[in-house]
């Protein structure tokens, strides 16, 4: 088996937004990003149907050189508007002095029972060896922001 992962906004997250369950205002320390193992090391399917961090199970990278479960806290940047599009951004996240291989990540909300906010595919395995591994979030703009509502 292998991990199947697609960049997607979980359907459950869309519903939760309407229920007012997530607050991305700067200063909140509730959003984390967990990393998946290498494609061949796991077996789950992740995408729009993913609802919770708990689904990662053994498909999450084990705590090892540079990575610690349950992932890193993200620094939220208060959501804003670009034109008529609502946009959300996070500060880039770096795992320093790391050695691991990962194929994707999951952003989830620890303030809402670890519910999934975004599934991110890295387009295949990404390997870091005794170096820095960094997630660079896209520019906070209507056409690019990591999470946006048009």
């Amino acid at each position: 088996m292998a991990i199947t992962i697609a960049t997607a906004m979980p359907t459950s997250f869309k519903v939760e937004l309407f229920k007012g369950l997530h607050n991305f205002t700067a200063g909140s320390t509730r959003f984390r990003m967990a990393l998946f193992t290498a494609v061949a090391s796991g077996s789950g399917t992740y995408g729009a149907a993913t609802t919770n961090y708990s689904q990662m199970g053994s498909d999450e990278l084990p705590s090892a050189t540079g990575y610690s479960r349950p992932g890193e806290l993200l620094t939220s940047i208060t959501p804003t508007a670009d034109g008529t599009t609502g946009i959300l951004d996070f500060a880039n996240e770096t795992w320093g002095s790391s050695s691991f291989t990962t194929c994707g990540g999951l952003i989830y909300d620890t303030g809402d029972s670890n519910s999934a906010c975004a599934v991110l595919s890295f387009g295949g395995d990404q390997t870091v060896s005794s170096g820095d591994f960094q997630i660079q979030f896209p520019a906070a703009a209507a056409a690019t922001a990591i999470i946006r509502i048009a």
Partner: protein
């Protein structure tokens, strides 16, 4: 006309990996620039040119200050190594 059309989307992250080292001030400056300024392909050429010039100027400032930060941090590390009785480790910072 009233329209209710809209969409909710997830953007694409970039992954940066370094082997055997961390990021340099120049590399981090580029990442910061992507957050500070983005230039749309459909922008007027004059606006694009101004944005590119601004981007170049900001890049230089960022790199300069990031290098200062690294040098300053190395000073802190040097003092920690010396305080801990390991002056030989200071040479590693100078490599």
């Amino acid at each position: 006309m009233i329209s209710t059309a809209g969409s909710m989307e997830v953007g694409m992250v970039k992954v940066g990996t370094m082997s055997g080292r961390g990021f340099t001030p120049e590399e981090i400056a580029e990442q910061a620039l992507d957050q500070i300024i983005s230039i749309g392909n459909n922008s007027h050429p004059v606006i694009q040119a101004q944005a590119e010039a601004f981007r170049t100027e900001i890049r230089g400032v960022l790199v300069s200050y990031l290098r200062q930060a690294v040098a300053s941090h190395n000073t802190t590390l040097t003092n920690r190594f010396l305080d801990a009785g390991h002056p030989e480790l200071v040479k590693l910072l100078e490599a």
